[in-house]
C-alpha cells in the first residue's frame, strides 16, 4: 500500500523557500499567484493491504521521524 505523508511548515512559520518561488513566478509573469508554500511529500510503500493499519503506521513514522512537530504539520493520504 502506498501512503503519502505531506509535511508543511505551520502557518506563521516563515517559509523562505516558498517566498523565493513566489518571487520567481512573479518575475516569470505569473500575476495571479498569491502565495506559495514549499513542503515535502514522502511516499512510503508499506507491506500491508489494510488501509487503517497503513495510516496508523504512517502516522507513527511522521511523529517519530518525518515531521518536526515544533514547526511542521503533516497530512497522510492513502495513494493506492
Amino acid at each position: 500500500m502506498k501512503v503519502a505523508v505531506n509535511v508543511h511548515l505551520k502557518k506563521g512559520v516563515l517559509d523562505p523557500q516558498g517566498k523565493a518561488v513566489l518571487h520567481a513566478l512573479e518575475t516569470l509573469g505569473f500575476k495571479n499567484v498569491e502565495d506559495v508554500r514549499v513542503g515535502k511529500q514522502i511516499i512510503i510503500e508499506i507491506n500491508t493491504n489494510n488501509k487503517e493499519e497503513a495510516i496508523k503506521e504512517a502516522k507513527e513514522m511522521a511523529d517519530k521521524l518525518l515531521a518536526n512537530p515544533v514547526i511542521e504539520n503533516y497530512k497522510i493520504e492513502v495513494k493506492e
Copy 2:
C-alpha cells in the same frame, strides 16, 4: 484556488534522501516499509475560481520553474 504540485524524482533516478529515510525507519523498528521516495509538494494559491484555468497555470509553472523535466515528474492536484 489552492493547487498542489507534487514533484518527484523519476523512476530509475537514485533517491538518496529516500534511501536514508528508509534505513532510518528500519532502524526505528518499522519492518513493513518497502520503499521510500522523498519529493516536494508545492502549494500555490492562485487567484481564480476556474479549476481548469488553475490547473493550466500550475502546469505552466511546473514546466517553467518547479520541476526539472530531465530527472523529475510532477502531478497537479486541486486542493480547494
